[in-house]
Structures are given as structure tokens and as C-alpha cells.
Amino acid sequence: MVMHLLSIDDLTRADIEKLFQLSDGFLEVAARPIKKVPTLRGRTVINLFLEPSTRTQSSFELAAKRLSADVINIKGTTSSVVKGESLKDTILTLESYRPDIIVMRHPQVGASRLATRYTKAAIVNAGDGTGEHPTQCLLDLYTIQRTFGHTEGLKIGMVGDILRSRVARSDLFGFRKMGMDVRLVAPPTLVPPGIEEWGVPIYHDLEALEEVDIIYLLRMQLERAKGRVPPVPSLREYSRRWGLSPAKVKPGQRVMHPGPINRGVELSGDLADDDRSLILHQVESGLAIRMAILLWCLAGALGEESEA
């Protein structure tokens, strides 16, 4: 039996700790001259990316290759989707290849859950519109675990375009699952209405970051504003009021960002290069944790086969 990873809610705290352990091993593999293990030899992983991506797609591709799986990449701009094929038909077509895992990014919320109906493969949600991005949450948690040695009790402030961020939606609930204290800081127009009913404190001023251990910045997702009232009047005013610069980061605080970063908008260029920034550590953790996730998805199936 395969396991889907569609939402961060699919994982328990114990699952996440197990993934950390697996990732520790894969980090060690990544330090070797030969960075490949035979774990998923003969398995097929399809990367179906119907929305632009650099780091997630490359991270999954490399993760699958290092596990010795066969990988194919399908991108939105070159796929039959542009010819008007429905998601159902795309998945049914891919299902004919009998893949083991489909890693899927899609511009619409819930698309990965829909895909599970048409395939026996494990679906890994690599971002569905403004819905969730559970593997980002896991790599963020793993980065925090590696940096601080624990997650319990840490205070984190997530800043910026929370409204349209699938990262924020996965992170908020994942961070809390791991015992972290999460607060949101954003212009009121970028706070998802109703989020306060999940018991999360909301602030509108960077002052609220004074006492946090980690500042997590989110990218301003202008591409999702088309045809609507823009939530902020200008990037200039946004960066002046809510942008982060080294002077606004206290000693000991760490800065994270899911990427891609917009230098000069949510953070100043010199902060991106500051050694308090964990941005590149996040990318490194991402590879290891995605290897762990691919293994986790198939762990049940692998176990059944070895018993048979």
C-alpha cells in the first residue's frame, strides 16, 4: 500500500520525527563522493509540474535519482495540458505507465487530492495553488531541527503574503504540530480572513518580531492578484513598511524564506546574503527530506513485497 502526502495534516508528529531520522541518513549520503543509494531501484517517479518551479522540481528530481528511481519530468508549458487536456485525462495517461509516485504541482487547490482518484501511484503534493505545500513545511522543520537541535518551544514569526501562500498554510499547522509558537505578521489585507479562528495571533507591525527565534519571510505573490484589488498599493510601500533588512533582525534571530526570494521586496539584498539567513540550508535540507518522503510513500509497498 502506498501513502499519499497531500497535506501536512496527513502526518503525525511521530511520522515527522521518523522523516527527520531518515533524512539524517540521506544527508550523510549526500556528503559522500558517490551520492547514490539503491533504495528505489526499478521504481518510477513522475514529476508533474503544471506550474513553474525551479527548486522543488529539481529537488525532487535529484532526490529520486539519488534513490536510483527512474524519473520523468513533465512541465506545464510543454505538456498536453496546453492542448486542453483535463487533469483527469493527464493522470489516466500517466497511470498507464504504472508509476510508483507522482510528484505533482498544480495551480489549483485540491488538484493533488483529485489525482489520487485516477492512479494507484502515491501522490506527493508539491504545491497546489494557494492550498498546501507539505514538503516545504517538512524541509523547513528539518532545517529548524538541524539549526536549533529541537523544534519544541521555538517562536517563529511568519511575515508577508500569508493570504496567498500555500507555504504558510502548511507551515503554520506543521510548526504547531511540532510544538512551535507561531505568529503571523502582515498587512491586514494579506491575512487570510478567518485564520484567527485557528487560534493564531495576528500582528500588523514588524515590532511583533522582537521576541521570536525565527523570522520566516514569504514572497509577495503578485501573479495571484490578477483581476482583483491588489492587497498592497505598491511594492515600494510594502518593502518600506514590512520588508526586512539586517538592522531589523536581532542578534541570534534566524531568517528563513521558501524561495524564490525577491530581493528588495520582502527582504533587502544584504539580508539574503547575511549569515543569519538559513535560506540555502533550507535547499540542502529539502533534498534530504524529499528522499525521505519518497521512501516514506513507498515504505508500506516495499515492506509488502519483501514479505511476499
Binding site: T189, P193, G199, V200, E207, P233, E237
Partner: protein, 481 residues
Amino acid sequence: MDLLSRPFGPRLACRALPLERFLLPDVRLFDPGERLDLVGDLLIGDGKILALGPEISRSENVEVLSDLAGCWVFPGLVDPHVHLRTPGFEYKEDLESGTAAAAAGGYVAVIAMANTEPAVDCGPVASWVLDQAGRRAQVRVGQVGAVSKGRLGQELAELWDLVQAGVTAFADDGSPIADADLLLHALRYARGTGRPLLLHLENKSLATDGVMREGKWSARLGLRGIPAVCESGPLARDLELIRYAFAEESRQASQAAESGGRRTAGKGAGSSQSGPVPFVHFQHLSVARSVQLLRQAKEEGLAVTGEVTPHHLLLTDEALCSFDPSLKVNPPLGSEGDREALLGGLADGTIDCIGSDHAPHAPHEKEVPIEEAAWGSTGLETAFAALFSRLVLPGRLSLGRLVEAMSSGPCGVFGLPAPRLAVGAPADFFVFDPEEEWQVTETSLRGKSRNCAFLGAELTGRVRMTVVAGSRRFVRARGEV
């Protein structure tokens, strides 16, 4: 500049004049806010009220203004709603002429709307106007910043940049915010600025090319009518949006308070106001139904305020029989029932303040058939005298309520300190001769434009002197035109 520091306060600018030292002998000193009503002297110096009361020692070297003996002294008037037409329409009015008119009407401060060319929709334009006012204005000028870029009702203007430039409030006045989503964005984005949002209520798709209030008189005259629901409809919608936005804000604030009690919860740093910020102010209410809706909202405790103009308190649609283009105002003059309801709302505090909506236009924009004429009437120079003559003297409104609604009332809307007759307070007041009878004529008006709805009116009581920041900005001898 450190943007984490406290938001800037509103900036009110006028030209600095040498501080004067003088004494008003035997005047009636009347300030409802101070519960003051007595006959005595008033001593001014160093920009402040130095002494007041029945027995002030008169030293030799003080100028005594004995020709004002017997007059009444009130805290200076504040107009929450004027059009100074700067920048862009200086042929109608400019900072100098508009504030000269204000001083002649007893005003010590006016709040200028942003429907200029270019619109006051960004920090540099607001700063420029306030800098100009600092050189030219006779009375204090506060500037409103537009809610939307170009006042087009599509995208938010840089509200924080406007706050830094010192704007007093946000308004797209002259145009309604028709897009509900934009209004919601404005209600959210302005949180923490400490500035109120001023709303002009008008359903343009219903108003179309109407000229006057729809009713008995529009039917008789054949002028296209604008139904009352043009105003009350948007008001009802906006109140629902405000309820929604304020409830969300208080949920968020209480959530943040529970999780650590930071002061910044749901507000900007440094905001000491309790309740939702910004509060919302409804401009120039003109129909009975609006008064009812506002009263109901206030009874629920919603942080909203309302304004009415002198012409809506004193004139009705029947006056349009004259086809005088100065009576073509937006919102249009209502029925007698509307007028009564507005007066009732003002008297019981449902309506917080009186704004003149001083809207000057050049003769060529008004000397045309009424259907083509520009909208608006001037009002700064006639507001207090007209309301005093026609409401206070006949006993329809108390003097105390009138002074409140034109002085501390508007200050409350903007969170500004109110002018007061008290020792140590800034010398911002005016002197009124309650007995002088006069007629409003073109030559009696100081502003640049002559489109006054009260032209020809015979009034009792007239402003004799206005003092702003301790210097005389307007002085008129009794009987002088």
C-alpha cells in the same frame, strides 16, 4: 526614517504670523466643552489664552479691543469638509482665498478634500499642499489623502506614505467607493494608521444624470430626480461591510491579546485609541433614512460618525423652483421630511458634526442651465451665521449644540484636539456679533467664487474677528461689508 517608530500624527499647517497680545473686554465667553458661559474679559498673548473671566487685571501695555465689547466669543470652528481646489483648480479657489473665506466665517481649521488635479493620492502631493498651506493659509489646513490611486476606485493609494506626509484622513470624496472589495481592502489596510476613512455615499448607477432629489418637486419641475436610496443604499451596504471588518479586527485583536497581550495586536504601534481603527465617517448625509441607519449603527456601538451640511439643514428641494445653479449640490437638497430628520439627528448626537462642503466654482461653470451646471455651493462664510439665524434664534437648535457640532464635533472625527476657551489653550477662537443684521451678497464674500446657496439671504449675527494660533486672521468692523 525608521518605519517601526510611531505613526506620524496629522499635520495642520497655516502661515505663521507674529503673536499678538490683546484683550477683549466685556464679551460673552461661551464654550460648551468647558461648560463655560459668562461675561468677562479675554486676554491673549504668546499664542495662548492667558486669562479669562470677569475680573482680569488690565495692565497698561495691552491693546484693548473695546469695539468688540458685547460680542460673543466661541471656540474656533473646524470644518471637516472643504474643497480648496489646490492643486489644479486654483481658478475656483486657492489656499489663500479659501482660508480667507474660512477665517471670515469663524473657522480656525479646515480639512481639504483630495479631489484635485492631480489628486492628493501620494505623499509628495500631500506634503506639497501642506507646505504651501504653511506659507499661505490664514487658518490651519489639514489635508485628506485619497483612498484609491487617482481616486479611480480601483487600487489602494499608498496610505502609509500619506500618513507620513501628515494627512488627517482618507477619502475619495466627490466619488463613492463603489467596489465593495476595494472598500474592504481600505478598511483593512488603514488599520493602525489612526486615520478615519471618510465616505461619500452615492450609487452612481442610480443617480445617472439626475439633477435634484427625486420627489414632489422633481416631478413638478421636470428635472431628473435622484432617489434617496442613492445614498441610503450605499450607507446600508457600507455599514454591513464595516460591521464585518470591525468584527474581524476585534477577533484578531483578542486572539493576539490572549497569546501574549502585545500592544500591537490588531492595531498599529502607538495607537492609543480603543475600538476599531480607523473608524468610519459618513460625509454630507442628506436623507431621513440615512439618519435612521446611522442611529441604529451607533446604538450597536459601531465606531462610525456622521456629518451634515448647513444647506441640507436649512434648504429643501422646493428651493430649486428658482433654478438657481448654486442650489445644485451633491447630494441634492432633500424634502422637508429629510431636513427635519437631519435636524433631529444633529440635535440628538446621531450626527456628530457640520461640514460646509465648501465647493467653489468659477462663474462660467455655474452660469449655465442647471442641468449642465457644476455641483456644489460655497459655505465657509455663511455656515455659522446662517445656522445661528435660522436654527438657534428660532429655538430649533441650542447654541451649545451648534458650537459643539462645528468645533469639538469635527475634531472628534479626526482625533484632533478641540479648540477651547481655557487658560493655557492655544488662542483659536472667533468673535461673533449676535445682533448684526446683514445680507449675503457677492461683495460680502471673501472667497474666489460666488456660487453660494445663501446668496441674497438676510441673516442675524456675523463674525467680527477670527484668531488662529494667537494672531488675528480676520477682522471686520461692525456694519462693514
